[in-house]
């Protein structure tokens, strides 16, 4: 029998006897017979651990992970960064992995302090004074940012740049069906460049509670946050910036550029690609908005002896206390990924993060130059970029990427597939656009080989 149950037959008999029951089935006498399952679950019988491990290993073998045999040039919020053994070892300590929410703070100082340190780092990256203990991912952080801004302003409309990750915008649209927020799009210059900061027709300017831009945007373009701040000021709206936390190692912080709320995806801070999850939603805001901060928040205090310690705080914001009046329903979040990020950022240090971001930029620009020198490949725009960029290919992007996979490269992401889905029926302007990311792990030799293969694949 395969399970992790400690009870011996003798113990079960003893326990049933203690309860005056004749068999385990009597434990369920409160369940009406009419609904009880007669024949057992429609699942196969259990199998011992080594069998299951082998089975899942076989499934894993049917995927192509990034590595030497599939060199990664894909990004779009999921990056192949250096995650050293020391970060993996510390983040996988079972004391962090198998703990739960710090409801009893006296025995949870490990997680609480690690999260306090994480909050400090995210706050400094964002350039805003308060950061929470994490949200699910960049998409949910965006939604919470929209909810905070509309709640704070009392206005229901939000302008969202097309430069924000397409999947995040899709999630925001899904959840707006519940909140009733009106989401309107701001297009990008040349489809991939900077946001055209204008109120779309049909939207009343006085109804706009927030302007949302991504920095850099999902095509890699470095946006003009000062212009976004000025535009938001004209509208009397809040500025929400979706931050790339690695780019934030070199770019002026969104807070310093006037953002009221910063959201983002923290996968790049020590979490492996993981087929998309679990990832890490980053969230920061000003002190004035802290009562609307979603999710958990760790605060410093002292204990009965005056010793420094940590607790979850401002709990009255949260669902278990405010219930239907809570501004967010978040309970379980992504604490382990937040702890991982604190460890990764501590390993990087200020110069390490700066160096990583710089090398990403150097690699991306070198790669861009090699690619656009290939026949069949052109620069999609002249917009400034940091660690990611768009190129236009002669062949459709999906075809190019398929050919590149055969050559051992995960060549980027297909812009049209991310924006419109794989089952799209129409060809839009993004059909031949590939978004390429270059991290600090890519060598010159890899980039050169990639460029040559890309040239062949793009025809």
């Amino acid at each position: 029998m395969s399970d992790y149950l400690p009870h011996t037959d003798a113990e079960i008999a003893e326990m049933l006897g203690f309860l005056g029951l004749g068999g385990l089935d009597e434990l369920f006498s409160a369940v009406p017979a009419a609904v009880r399952l007669a024949g057992g679950l429609d699942l196969e019988p259990g199998r011992p651990e080594p069998d299951v491990v082998a089975e899942v290993q076989a499934l894993a073998a049917r995927n192509r992970p990034v590595g030497r045999d599939l060199v990664c040039f894909a990004g779009a919020g999921a990056y192949d960064h250096e995650v050293p053994a020391v970060v993996r070892a510390l983040a996988s300590r079972s004391e962090f992995v198998t703990a739960y929410t710090p409801y009893q703070a006296e025995v949870a100082q490990g997680v609480l302090q690690a999260v306090f340190e994480y909050q400090t780092m995210v706050s400094r990256l964002a350039g805003l004074p308060v950061a929470n203990a994490s949200l699910y991912d960049g998409a949910s952080a965006l939604v919470e940012g929209i909810n905070l801004a509309t709640g704070a302003s009392g206005r229901q409309a939000v302008l969202v740049s097309d430069g924000v990750h397409p999947h995040w915008r899709a999630v925001a649209r899904t959840l707006a069906a519940g909140t009733g927020h009106e989401l309107a799009a701001m297009p990008l210059a040349d489809d991939v460049g900077r946001t055209t900061l204008a109120v779309p027709t049909g939207v009343a300017p006085a109804s706009i509670g927030a302007v949302v831009v991504a920095q850099p945007n999902w095509f890699g373009t470095v946006e003009d946050l000062a212009a976004a701040r000025a535009f938001a000021d004209e509208l009397g709206a809040l500025l929400v910036v979706a931050m790339d936390p690695v780019a934030a190692g070199v770019l002026r912080s969104p807070g310093a550029s006037g953002a009221d709320v910063v959201v983002g995806e923290g996968q790049a801070l020590g979490t492996r690609l993981s087929f998309g999850g679990p990832y890490l939603g980053l969230f920061a805001c000003s002190r004035a908005q802290v009562r609307r901060l979603p999710g958990r928040l760790v605060g410093e205090t002292v204990d009965a002896d005056g010793t420094r310690g940590y607790v979850t705080t401002l709990r009255a914001r949260e669902q278990d206390i405010r219930r239907e009046k809570a501004t967010s329903n978040v309970c379980t979040n992504q604490t382990l990924m937040a702890v991982t990020a604190a460890i990764q950022l501590s390993w990087l240090g200020p110069r390490g993060l700066h160096e990583v971001a710089t090398r990403c930029a150097q690699g991306a620009h070198y790669c861009h130059d090699q690619l656009v020198a290939q026949p069949g490949v052109t620069a999609t725009s002249s917009a400034p970029f940091l660690r990611e960029f768009a190129v236009t290919t002669a062949a459709p992007a999906d075809t190019v990427l398929s050919r590149l996979a055969d050559e051992g490269f995960l060549g980027g992401v297909s812009a049209a597939t991310l924006e419109h889905g794989p089952a799209r029926t129409e060809e839009g302007p993004l059909e031949r656009v590939v978004v390429v990311a270059v991290t600090e792990r890519r060598t010159r030799a890899e980039i050169d080989a990639f460029a040559a293969a890309f040239g062949k694949a793009a025809r």
Partner: protein, 503 residues
């Protein structure tokens, strides 16, 4: 009885009870740990690549530590942390069962952990098959027709379910405005109701701790989109009139939503689909043993009946005629709920758990979970009254009301004393309908010996309460820190290192 208690943690920690410095306090300017790959990429100066006006003036204020100090710091922090691995964690409503180590290794396989989420299906058939299999398994466990694996936590699943209800009613040309919840509901339920665009209508529990069906009937009308229930409920009691409740709600055209937080009690015994539920969320980090991570990640898949399947979030994995799995979005999908495919690695762990246990193993899990909780209830019945004096399911809600009256020792004090005894405390002050509530969920992976030691600890606390209430109020005294000043933390917010150094 032979055997010492395998779940008692009084033998830790090792040395000293000082505060651990923060990583910032351990920093020394110029120290570093980072080592990056040699790439030979041309080192063009950054301000030739990006306009100088866009650049930070100084690097981000991050720690500057050696790798050795990085390891020391986080290792010591881990020693100041209770976890399931360390000892029994009877936190009601959270199902803190043992997290199998084999699944940690699976989660770290490059073939799972190093796959990019934008990989096309041709490069990720292993993942797509796994997700298809998990969907089938979760539907089998719950008696439902189809599922989405995108929601990243239970609360996200709740909101997904509410949006599915909204879409379903809209497809019938109806714009219902209310959702009913019992007064014993978990706080995420009403919070999700609000985010779903609905008004919460609360129905009271009756004298047996169950939904008052007459009161429910009184609030049901064609403006009610549905009811959110968990079964067993948060008092650990099975809603015996679930069929009547389902009939009443369906009769007004409403839907039934099942909060899967308590699914551990009924695996293989009864399925939510057979009870009449239309939408079900599961908490994989509870029922299916994915580790809680100190507060996440979890996963909250949502399974639905056939009539709601067209509205499921997409894309979702679907097996094509040629056997290959593709991404597909249902025709009337409510849209995407996650930036990618959900908490995929968490989903993989749950799939492995389901494969290992199978139909027979899952039933054993439920049986022993309910056996353990009832054994504790009975064992403690002389000292702590259960809120409802009858058999429970996988968790029991005790009350410290009598103790408070006789000695002034409250549920909070009992919880803190239990920490001194080498156990994590149960959930306290929830559900709200019970005064001085102690919600105890031992789970099925704790042994009889551990339960006995836990019971003895509870009894000792009650005995000593009369003679030494101050001792209980002063607890915990043996933990790394003593009772913390939560009021100060809220009054004077220090949420970052900069907040502290600024004051």
């Amino acid at each position: 009885m032979t055997g010492a208690a395998g779940g008692r943690a009084r033998s830790a920690p090792l040395l000293g009870r000082d505060a651990e410095p923060t990583i910032f306090e351990l920093s020394v300017t110029g120290r570093h740990a980072v080592q990056l790959r040699t790439t030979d990429v041309p080192a063009t100066p950054l301000d030739e690549l990006v306009d100088a006006g866009q650049l930070r003036e100084a690097p981000v204020g991050l720690p500057e530590v050696s790798e050795r100090d990085l390891v020391g710091h986080f290792t010591r922090l881990s020693h100041r942390q209770f976890s399931v691995d360390l000892g029994a964690y009877p936190l009601g409503s959270c199902t803190m069962k043992y997290n199998p180590k084999a699944f940690d290794e699976l989660a770290a396989l490059p073939g799972l952990a190093d796959v990019h989420p934008a990989s096309p299906p041709s490069l990720s058939q292993g993942w797509l098959e796994l997700l298809c299999d998990l969907e089938r398994e979760l539907c089998a466990v719950t008696g439902m027709h189809a599922a989405t694996l995108q929601p990243a936590a239970g609360a996200a699943g709740e909101l997904t379910g509410l949006l599915l209800m909204r879409a379903y009613h809209a497809s019938n040309g109806e714009a219902r405005t209310k959702v009913v919840i019992p007064d014993s509901a978990h706080g995420t339920n009403p919070a999700s109701v609000t985010l779903g665009g609905y008004e919460t209508v609360t129905v009271p529990s009756d004298s047996r701790g169950l939904v008052d069906v007459a009161a429910l009937r009184a609030v049901l009308d064609r403006d009610v989109a549905g009811i959110m229930l968990t079964n067993p409920n948060t008092l650990g009691l099975f809603e015996e009139e679930i069929q009547e409740i389902a009939a009443a709600v369906h009769e007004v055209g409403g839907l039934l939503y099942y909060d899967g937080a308590n699914l551990n009690a009924i695996l293989g015994v009864v399925r939510p689909g057979d009870m009449g539920f239309d939408v079900v969320h599961l908490n994989l980090h509870k029922t299916f043993a994915t580790p809680h991570g100190g507060g996440g990640p979890g996963a909250g898949p949502v399974a639905v009946s056939e009539r709601l399947a067209p509205f499921l979030p997409g894309p979702l994995p679907r097996r094509g005629e040629d056997g290959a799995v593709e991404w597909w979005t249902p025709p009337r999908s409510i849209g995407r709920l996650h930036s990618w495919h959900g908490n995929a690695v968490v989903l993989a762990r749950a799939h492995a758990y389901l494969r290992l246990h199978g139909a027979d193993g899952l039933l054993r899990v439920a049986q022993r979970a309910v056996l353990n909780a009832n054994w504790l209830r009975q064992r403690l019945s002389a000292t702590y009254a259960a809120a409802f004096d009858r058999p429970c399911m996988h968790e029991v809600v005790l009350t410290a009301s009598a103790l408070k009256k006789s000695s002034g020792v409250r549920a909070l004090d009992v919880a803190k004393r239990l920490l001194e005894e080498g156990f994590h405390a149960p959930t306290v002050y929830f559900p709200l309908v019970v005064d001085e509530a102690l919600m105890v969920e031992p789970t099925e992976t704790e042994s009889l010996q551990t339960l006995e030691a836990l019971a003895e600890a509870f009894e000792r606390i009650a005995e000593e309460a009369a003679a030494d209430p101050e001792g209980a109020h002063a607890a915990p005294r043996t933990t790394p820190v003593r009772r913390l000043d939560e009021a100060l933390a809220a009054r004077h917010l220090v949420a970052t290192e900069d907040d502290r150094t600024a004051t």
